[in-house]
Amino acid sequence: MLKDITIGQFFPGNSLLHKLDPRFKIIITGIFIAMLFAAQTFTALIPGVVFMIIGYAASKIPFSLMIKSLKPIIPIIIFTSILNLFFLDGIVIFKLWIIKITYDGVTYTGMMIIRIIALIAGSSLLTYTTSPIALTDAIESLLSPLKKIKFPVHELAMMMSIALRFIPTLIEETDKIMSAQKARGADMESGGLIHRAKALTPILVPLFVSAFSRAMELATAMECRCYRGGEGRTRLKQLSSSARDYLTTSFSLIFLNMVFLLNVYMAG
C-alpha cells in the first residue's frame, strides 16, 4: 500500500528533460506555475496544460505514472471543488432550498480542478526527471548568493538530499513494522478517526527509534568518508548550462506570454 507513493521519486532515463540543467528545470517549473496561476479564463489555461503534456511527451515518463501521482490529491480536489461550487456568488443556474449553484461557481471550480491537476502532475515531472542529488545541487547553486549573509546553503542541501535518499528506506521499514504489529493483533483499519490515530502510535514509535539509530550510523559512515561540510568539496557532476537550457526556458516564456495575451484577448 505504502509503496504506491510516487511523489518525490526519480525515474532514471535519457530523455531531453533528464538532460536539462536542473537549475533551469527549477526555473522552468516556476514559469509553469506562473502560467497556471496567471490564467484567468479556461482558454488561458490551455497553454499551461499543453506545456505540461509536451513535457510528459519529452520526458518519456509513462502517463499512467502521472495518474498514479494524482491519486493522493483527490480528496483535496473534492474538498476545494465543493467549497467553490456552493459558496460563490453570481448568476444562479440551479437552486434548491439554501443550496445554490452559480455560473461563476461552475467555471471557477472547473478551472480550479484543471489548475490543481496540472500543478501536481507538471511539477512532479521535475522530481521524476531530476535525481534528488542534482536537484539539491541546483537548489544549492541557485541559493548560493545567500551564503554571503551566512545562510547555511550547503547544510540545507545535504539535509534535503539525505531526507530524499531515506524516503524509500523508511517507507519499506514502515511497511515491515505495520506487518509486525498486525501479526500481533494490532487493528489499524477499523474504528473512528481518533481510534485510528491512536493505532498509529505503535508504528511511529519504532519508526522514530530506528530512524535515529540509522542517522547515527549514517553520520559515522559519512565521517569515515571524510565528510567535513561544504568547504573544499568538489562535484562528480558539474552543473553546466548549454544552448538547450536557454532554448527550453525561452520556449516556456513564450507559453507564459501566450497566457497573458489570451487573458487580455478573452477579456476584451
Binding site: 526519480f10 532514471p12 535525481s131 534528488p132 542529488i133 538530499s161 539525505i162 530524499l164 535518499r165 524509500p168 528506506t169 519499506e172 540509522r214 550510523e217 549514517l218 559515522t220 559512515a221 559519512m222 565521517e223 569515515c224 568518508r225 571524510c226 565528510y227 567535513r228 573544499g232 568539496r233 568538489t234 562535484r235 562528480l236 557532476k237 558539474q238
Partner: protein, 290 residues
C-alpha cells in the same frame, strides 16, 4: 607493493584501553584493556570475538572515529588522537559497516561512490575515472545509474566497498559486512574483499562472526575481554578448539568434525580448516581402513 609488504607497518595499536564512559566514573567497564596489535601492509586479517568483546570498538579506533582512553593508535605513523591527522588517517583507512542501507548517502550508485572523493576535493575528471574504476573492480559498473534501494543486499555492500576503494585507501576495515546478507550476497562480498587484497594489495581487516570466512584469511586475531587472546594463522588458531569454545566461539564445521572424531579416539588433525583438505583426509583415512 609486495617489495615493502614485509617491511612497513600499516596500523600499530600500542597498549590501548578504551571505555565509553571516559575517566570520571569509577568502575565503568573497559571495552578494551591494554590491547596490543600490529598490522602489516597487505595483510588479510580476520578479527573474531563474541558479542561485546570489543572487536567493533577496535575497528572504530583504527580510523579515529573513537580515540583511545589510554595508549596510542598509529596509522602509517599518524597518531589517531591528533585532530590534525584526521583526514590523513581516514583517507588511508576506509571502513565498511554492517548495514548497507545506513552507509549509502546518495540516491544514485555512482554518486554515492563519488561521495568520499567529493569530500576530498578531487578534480571532477579524475573523480569520474576513479569512480568508474572502483565500480568495475567490484563488478557494479553496469548498475552505476541505478537507485541503491533497488539493489540486493550483496550489491549494496559492494557499492559501499566501491565508495571506499575509490578513495584509494591502504587499508579497509570491514565490520561484519556480511552479517545482514543472504549466502549469495555473502559470497559476492567475500570474493570482492579477497580480490582487493590479492590484486590491489589493500590491507584487509575483516571483523566477522562466520568462521568459514575467517578460515579464508591469512591471519586470525581473537579478541576476548578487551584483549588479544590468540593471534596466528587460521590453522593454528582453529586447532585450539576447546579454548575457542570456552569463550563462546565456534570453529569451521570441518575442524569441528576433526575434533569430534579425535575425541572418539581416531587420530585426526584439527589443523584442517577447508572442506577440500577434510575430504582428502577422510578419503585417505577410509582407504587405509580397508
Amino acid at each position: 607493493m609486495s617489495a615493502n609488504k614485509e617491511i612497513k607497518e600499516n596500523i600499530n595499536i600500542k597498549n590501548v584501553s578504551f571505555s565509553y564512559n571516559s575517566d570520571e566514573e569509577k568502575g565503568t567497564p573497559l571495552i578494551l584493556n591494554h590491547c596490543n596489535l600490529e598490522i602489516k601492509k597487505g595483510e588479510f586479517i580476520a578479527v573474531l570475538g563474541h558479542n561485546g568483546s570489543g572487536k567493533s570498538t577496535l575497528a572504530k579506533l583504527m580510523n579515529s572515529i573513537l580515540i583511545p582512553t589510554d595508549g596510542i593508535v598509529l596509522v602509517d605513523g599518524f597518531d589517531t588522537s591528533d585532530e590534525e591527522n584526521l583526514f590523513d588517517i581516514r583517507r588511508r583507512v576506509g571502513m565498511v559497516f554492517q548495514n548497507p542501507d545506513n552507509q549509502i548517502v546518495a540516491t544514485i550508485v555512482e554518486e554515492d561512490v563519488a561521495f568520499g572523493l567529493e569530500n576530498l576535493g578531487t578534480e571532477p575528471a579524475e573523480m569520474r575515472q576513479r569512480v568508474d574504476e572502483a565500480l568495475k573492480a567490484v563488478g557494479m559498473y553496469d548498475y552505476r545509474n541505478h537507485a541503491p534501494h533497488k539493489l540486493s543486499g550483496g550489491q549494496k555492500q559492494r557499492v559501499a566497498i566501491a565508495g571506499i576503494i575509490a578513495m584509494k585507501p591502504e587499508c579497509i576495515v570491514l565490520d561484519e559486512p556480511t552479517a545482514m546478507l543472504d549466502p549469495k550476497g555473502r559470497e559476492e562480498v567475500m570474493r570482492t574483499i579477497k580480490m582487493l587484497n590479492r590484486d590491489y594489495g589493500i590491507t584487509v581487516i575483516l571483523i566477522t562472526h562466520y568462521m568459514e570466512e575467517a578460515a579464508q584469511c591469512e591471519r586470525i586475531v581473537v579478541i576476548d575481554g578487551g584483549k588479544v587472546l590468540m593471534d596466528g594463522t587460521p590453522e593454528n588458531v582453529f586447532s585450539e578448539v576447546e579454548l575457542l569454545k570456552s569463550i563462546g566461539l565456534d570453529v569451521p564445521q570441518v575442524t569441528e568434525l576433526m575434533y569430534l572424531l579425535g575425541k572418539h579416539g581416531y587420530t585426526c588433525d584439527t589443523h584442517i580448516i577447508t572442506e577440500n583438505d577434510c575430504t582428502d583426509f577422510l578419503a585417505k583415512f577410509l582407504s587405509e581402513k580397508k
